[in-house]
């Protein structure tokens, strides 16, 4: 095969496809044409890693036991300084979740305040595996439920993307998902992509990955064209990569001077929020392109707040501000497509109901999941609230689960993407026929 020296990236792709290297370079069907409305439906899953504290995400300030259990890390009541943003008589949202709250006021955000995976080991890693694999037991599946859900949609071709340098388990599997992380891209003017596509022809790992990567790179140019690109990775060791706080933003010792510490936190929080907003907007830029991905997964880490968790400000507040800014960038970036989109933010497990000895919280059980979208059905809290009465706490320490995480995901997949009940029970969430989908979420 002859390659011309000035082959551009696009023609390299065409050349590669021309010699039959990989069908996935070309020939992508849009299922929009085939399936009408379903073709526009989008789903974004935000995996909040480290065990996000549900009692701070949606503080039940109306629960009579909440403030006593939480002490100085409790979120203040409605209307007070730094107080919860009111949802109903019991629940509010963390004051940093202002975007989510504004959506809730429009009927575009709901909370599931006591949701948990079937795993009870309180191990981050085991629970994240269960959350993302969709299995009822650890190591029960090596692919992710989101990937298998796509696979269950039959001939409909649907594209997915993960944000971040590493591929999350939730999107791993038979269908090659794209991935993207900030870090710059360039006009490629070399032969290398074509040569490598050739060498990877029989490589089941690298072949599909390179093909998808190049495609995504082209898309990224469009996705970020209207946005200030996310800054390249800073030089500092612990700089602000996506999903990570600048090191100095999280002093490890208790904040020593209220004002000083608060200012340092607030400053770091603002910087992180700008990055997060751009990230959300960029993802929206991908998803609004013709043939762009309809499914996306993002990870946000840093929720493991064993010490000095903070309340309206502080460590956890900064992570929630980051989450809120991703939602802001995403929902505004999607524009009219927001009404076709559902976003679920979930975590592997919650945290202890009691404040611990180091002004933080330890590993718990149920937590809050957020469900957002322009086309949600009106309704209140998803699932029952077990209350924080001592006798109702799971093993006398944690918010008790009243809703199986798989049921929540099943409901969203069924109503948003039309995944069949039989696929949900058997392949997407293996052996889960006993777990009913939580219905009535998406209109």
């Amino acid at each position: 095969m002859t390659r011309s020296i000035d082959l551009t990236r696009r023609s390299a792709l065409a050349a590669a496809a021309g010699i039959g290297v990989s069908i996935s370079f070309l020939g992508r069907q849009t299922f929009a044409a085939v399936d009408g409305d379903l073709g526009k439906r989008k789903l974004v899953v935000i995996v909040c890693r480290g065990a996000m504290d549900g009692l701070s995400v949606s503080p039940p300030v109306g629960d009579p036991n909440y403030h006593a259990l939480r002490g100085e890390i409790a979120i203040a009541g409605f209307g007070q300084a730094g107080g919860a943003l009111k949802l109903d008589d019991t629940f509010g949202l963390h004051p940093k979740l202002a975007t989510v709250h504004a959506l809730a006021m429009k009927g575009q955000a709901r909370i599931a305040p006591a949701v948990a995976t079937p795993d009870r080991a309180r191990s981050h890693f085991e629970a994240q595996d269960v959350l993302e694999s969709g299995s009822s037991v650890v190591y029960g599946a090596s692919s992710g439920w989101l990937n298998r859900a796509m696979g269950s949609l039959g001939p409909r071709r649907i594209e997915a993307i993960s944000v971040g340098a590493q591929a999350p388990l939730i999107l791993r599997g038979k269908i090659q998902a794209a991935s993207w992380s900030p870090g710059g891209f360039k006009d490629r003017d070399t032969r290398l992509p074509g040569i490598l596509a050739d060498l990877y022809a029989h490589d089941p790992l690298l072949g599909p990955a390179l093909a998808t990567g190049l495609q995504t790179e082209a898309m990224a140019k469009v996705a970020t064209a209207s946005e200030t690109p996310v800054a390249p990775q800073p030089m500092s060791l612990a700089g602000s990569a996506p999903g990570q706080m600048p090191a100095a933003a999280m002093p490890g010792t208790p904040p020593q001077g209220g004002d000083a510490a608060a200012r340092a936190y607030a400053q770091a929080g603002r910087a992180g929020a700008q990055t997060a907003r751009t990230l959300g907007a960029t993802l929206a830029g991908f998803m609004t392109q013709p043939n762009g991905p309809q499914i996306a997964a993002i990870s946000i880490d840093g929720f493991d707040t064993h010490a000095n968790q903070g309340n309206a400000e502080g460590q956890l507040a900064n992570r929630l501000a980051y989450l809120d800014a991703v939602v802001d960038g995403l929902s505004s970036g999607l524009g009219p497509e927001w009404r076709n989109t559902v976003v679920v933010a979930a975590t592997e497990f919650g945290r202890t109901a009691h404040i611990n000895g180091t002004k933080g919280t330890d590993h718990g059980t149920a937590s809050t999941a957020l469900v957002l979208g322009g086309g949600l059905k009106a309704g209140g809290v998803i699932g029952d609230w077990p209350t924080l009465q001592q006798a109702k706490l799971f093993e006398s320490r944690d918010t008790a689960p009243t809703l199986d995480m798989r049921g929540l995901f099943k409901g969203v997949l069924a109503e948003q993407l039309g995944v069949s009940r039989s696929a949900l029970d058997a392949t997407v969430f293996p052996d889960s026929a006993g777990v009913a989908p939580a219905v009535g979420i998406v209109a």
């Binding site: 340098a165 591929a167 991935s179 060791l237 700089g239 100095a248 340092a264 611990n356 590993h363 093993e395």
Partner: protein, 470 residues
Amino acid sequence: MSIDPNLGASIAVTRFGLGARPGEIDAARTDPKGYLKAQIRPSGADQPAGTFQSSAAHFVAVREYQMQRRQDLKAGVDPVKEAQKQIRATAIPEFLGRAQLACNTDASFRERWTLFWCNHFTVASKNLQTAVLVGPFEREAIRPHVFGRFEDLLTASTMHPAMLLYLDQAQSIGPHSPVMFMSGPGVGRFRQSGLNENLAREILELHTLGVGAGYTQTDVTEFARALTGWSIQGPEGARYGGRFASAGEPGQFTFREVFHEPGARRLFGKSYNQDGIAQAGAVLHDLAGSPATAHHLAVKIARHFVADDPPPALVARLERAYLQSDGRLDQVADALIEAPEAWATQETKFKTPYEFLVSSYRAVGAAPEDFTKFGPVLTGLGQQPFNAPSPKGWAEEAQAWAAPDAIVKRMSWSEAFAQAAAPVNLQPATIADASLGARLTPPVAQAIAHAESRPEGLAILLMSPEFQRR
């Protein structure tokens, strides 16, 4: 089982080691196993070249900085910039020294073995204090013990200030400890404090028994109670001075009797009646000797060196070596080298970004001279220097690292690196032979031979399926 010495030499240097420097495969050819075994030594790992400060000095410096910070804020000094300045001055040279060691060493099996244990006992940059301590932690707690008894390594890691801070142990206080019954100035903050079970849980789950070994929440809590008092000596005049003082140099481990939960603890059905520091010490001893720990470590070593889904026979061999030698890691390393499964011809391990960059430098006989050419690249590829995403450390599986975006970024970096680093006096084909030896496949050799320039040839080599794996 006999292996072809040419292939054996390639496997020894690229799979067990960190990738071949020019001439290295030749050096391993006569006796690949002997070449590796000669790298095992009782004194442990190499230390990065350079002058670095101890963790105690770093700890004290950060504490002083934190006390100063209130004034700085009033004076308008930007605290984030100040912290980044400290990180630049300390953690960056540490990381660069570590990378240079990996690129330059003639004993790269020894270094890979060491990096495995650094990752097993992950400490990451979750705040300024831990960011400056990761390098010292590896030098002080890990490197000296990698070929000694696992119990010593476990104990050194558990006692190190970096680990005590990273997993919130330093501030964990027994609810019935003496400090809770004291009165007077300065006591209030302790009396509001209590138990933190983070370190106890991760020792059981990640460092020793492994998840699924059958321990319970009660075991975790009891172990956390036994560990209370394992803390760090504060600097002079700092908040742990006076009546709360304990023996020890500032910034080093101390056992703080007044934080320790009194009484016997019951874990795994066994009673621990020891006093003070000996109590958690006895638990660590039992954990190190547990068959569950032997199995957990064997799986992890086999997974790191040989295959994401490791052969059970290999796991059984390593487990046996561990138990028969009373947890001696030199014996486990020896068993790994002797295991036929480790020499399988099919390479299945996909290099992590760090391994990929290090092996690329080694292929051209170079090492990074400047952090800015190395660290930010790793961040872009998903492996931020000294900042693993969780106590579990960096992922092992190929699926985690071979995301489409990551492959494109590796390709971009390879092109740039090849432009800058392709040696003018060497043909890419020669570099390919020297870095992969018998593992170089004909299609890749051919593509390199047909390259239109030296940099293109080198970039093809670095991105080839066999160079991306080991």
